[in-house]
């Protein structure tokens, strides 16, 4: 079982975001970065799949600057065998990122390539399926339950109001939803072993693409609540305000 995981370094979801002076990027000063939380489910699944198979290899790929090495080491501390840093600036255009990953993964002999279902910084949900397309392999997105048997994959997806079961053959690309597993914490031995695991740095050039971010703005500050009145008498006024002012009805 040979499994690749594509990992993204993202701002910690509890970090207070400050928009950079160009108005279309995040000011990275003082921001704490973490592995994309959905990618952690993918990492856990890769490690568990290899453990269950009893043999194989797990490889983590990440696209980014040198600081992404730290994120890769976290994956290695969890138990991934080796890491590859695709050293270069990312692109807002998911297709360019997918092309970079596909070029690296092609010929790697992977049975499975795993992504988190989305990156919590841009919410694009594009790179996984696009990479699958470029590799010419099937893709199942938002996998919440996974069974492998005789080279075939059966995956459950939690869709609106129900569960959809999909099947495909390997090799394949899967994007992972939360709930598939509980990502393990690195043990002390894992942290120490991670220092000795191979981490290859390969410079890459990512195209600019055709999709650009033109601006970023923070959501408006939440205003204080208001008590419209009390008891049944207040209901008409409340409904009216929800319709005309809050515009949620």
């Amino acid at each position: 079982m040979k499994v690749a995981v594509c990992l993204k370094r993202v701002p910690d979801t509890t970090t207070k975001i400050v928009i950079g002076s160009d108005g279309k990027s995040i000011d990275e000063n003082g921001v704490k970065f973490v592995p994309n939380p959905y990618d952690e489910y993918a990492l856990e699944e890769a490690i568990a799949l290899k453990e269950r198979a009893g043999a194989g290899e797990t490889v983590v790929y990440s696209l980014g600057g040198d600081s992404s090495q730290e994120t890769i080491r976290t994956a290695l501390a969890m138990g991934i065998d080796r890491g590859v840093l695709l050293q270069g600036a990312g692109s807002a255009d998911g297709f360019e990122v997918a092309k970079t990953f596909a070029a690296e993964l092609k010929g790697g002999g992977f049975d499975l390539v795993l992504f988190g279902k989305l990156a919590v910084d841009d919410y694009n949900m594009q790179v996984g399926p696009m990479t699958a397309e470029l590799l010419g392999v099937p893709c199942i997105t938002t996998v919440a339950h996974l069974t492998l048997a005789n080279g075939a994959i059966e995956a459950e997806r939690e869709i609106e109001g129900g569960i959809e079961v999909c099947t495909c053959s390997m090799p394949a690309v899967l994007t992972i939803d939360k709930g598939l597993n509980t990502p393990r914490l690195p043990s002390l031995k894992g942290i120490m072993a991670a220092k000795k695991k191979p981490l290859e740095v390969r410079p890459v050039h990512v195209g600019v693409g055709t999709l650009m971010v033109s601006s970023l703005t923070l959501p408006p500050e939440r205003l204080a609540g208001r008590i419209v009145g009390e008891g049944p008498d207040a209901v008409p006024a409340l409904v009216s305000l929800l319709r005309t002012e809050a515009k949620v009805l």
Binding site: R73, T74, A77, L185, P186, S187, L188, K189, I191, M192
Partner: protein, 379 residues
């Protein structure tokens, strides 16, 4: 290493929030699940060299582990001794003893976290202990009593200090004491364990030895040289426990800061008042000083030196800083500080211990006066 380690311990501790520790405190229960996970993750074996199955880390790294546990709101006292009690065995045990015990201790299958030195009539004056071990053939027979011996009920093995040559027959008071590794599981009725109830959730006991037999091969090092062996381990203990106090201090500063920013009285956050802000800031400054001294002491130890003065002084500063921070937090929280649900009162009780244990701060001042400032011995 330190940052990764800190993050990893923090992530583990997040799984054991305030409610977990509060529940244990109410039931006076041992943190089984927390200790099991900490053990499984390898943290308690971090000071054991890799050749014996540990992680082979230094004291600087080990300090971070205990500091983060206490900063998270937890209490490392339930298990910290599993980290360092083995030091006596590691430094003075035979190769055979080390091969026999250390790998099991590193894995946590063997719990060596009890350390029997203190007696009702001999606290800091260790050479006056009255527990004896008399050699009879291939065994020693132990008689006497000990007090405030922690974690005995959660240990498989215990380090014991006993007098093997009567004090009248030795040239120096420090001679004639020996160290033994006692297998608690085999002690049976010859060692009675009487729990001591205290104001915190901490298992500690009085021990009564009535003819307990210890095989000669369980003596660590040479007969009569035990006092020196024990002293060596005390530097490590002081540096590590200082780290817990630093963790406590940061816990109080974190909580007091957060609360004083949110609590609105007279139309503004109470943290805007210097009467509230200054005590927290002062405690923070004291904590930073303690951290600097602790880091220095740990680095010296890791470099192979014996930082007696630094270890003592960092324990002093850290425990005082924690107590200062505890009081600042209590005052900041007002009545809520005493409300069990807020956690402050539990940590307040727990952090108080380190002003008197494992050594009273007055005795640290005695040490500094005598050994650093070369004043006449005062005790």
């Amino acid at each position: 290493m330190k940052d990764e380690l800190r993050e990893a311990v923090r992530a583990l501790c997040r799984k054991y929030p305030d409610e977990y520790w509060r529940g244990l405190d109410e039931r006076r229960a041992y943190p089984e699940a927390f200790v099991a996970e900490l053990t499984r993750s390898g943290y308690l074996g971090c000071l054991i060299p890799e050749e014996y199955g540990g992680a082979g880390l230094g004291l600087r790294d080990a300090s971070v582990v205990l500091e983060e546990i206490n900063r998270s709101g937890g209490s490392a006292a339930a298990c910290h001794a599993q980290m360092y009690t083995m030091g006596t065995l590691l430094r003075h045990g035979s190769e055979e003893q080390k091969r026999r015990y250390l790998p099991g201790i590193a894995r946590g299958e063997l719990r060596l976290q009890a350390f029997a030195v203190t007696e009702p009539d001999a606290g800091s004056d260790t050479t006056q202990i009255s527990t004896t071990a008399v050699r009879q053939g291939d065994r020693y027979v132990v008689n006497g009593k000990k007090i405030f011996i922690s974690r005995v009920q959660h240990s498989d093995l215990m380090i014991l200090l006993a007098r093997t040559t009567p004090i009248e027959q030795v040239k120096k008071r420090t001679d004639g004491l020996s160290v033994f590794l006692v297998d608690i599981r085999e002690a049976g009725e010859r060692m009675r364990v009487q729990p001591v109830a205290t104001m915190i959730n901490h298992e500690t006991n009085e021990l009564f030895f009535d003819g307990l037999e210890v095989p000669v091969e369980n003596r660590i090092g040479e007969e009569g040289k035990g006092f020196g062996y024990i002293l060596g381990g005390m530097n490590v203990e002081r540096i590590l426990l200082a780290s817990e106090s630093i963790g406590d201090a940061l816990y109080f500063v974190d909580r007091a800061t957060e609360y004083s920013r949110q609590r609105i009285v007279f139309g503004r956050p109470i943290g805007q008042n210097q009467g509230v802000q200054f005590p927290i800031a002062r405690a923070y400054v004291a904590t930073q000083g303690a951290m600097a001294l602790r880091d220095n002491a740990a680095s010296l130890y890791d470099a192979g030196q014996l930082p007696g003065a630094e270890a003592n002084m960092c324990k002093y500063l850290a425990s005082e800083a924690a107590w200062e921070a505890a009081n600042a937090a209590m005052n900041t929280f007002g009545g809520y500080g005493l409300a069990v649900e807020f956690g402050i009162e539990r940590k307040f009780r727990e952090s108080r211990l380190y002003l008197v244990a494992p050594i009273a701060n007055n005795l640290i001042l005695c040490y500094v006066g005598e050994h650093v400032l070369h004043l006449p011995r005062s005790y």
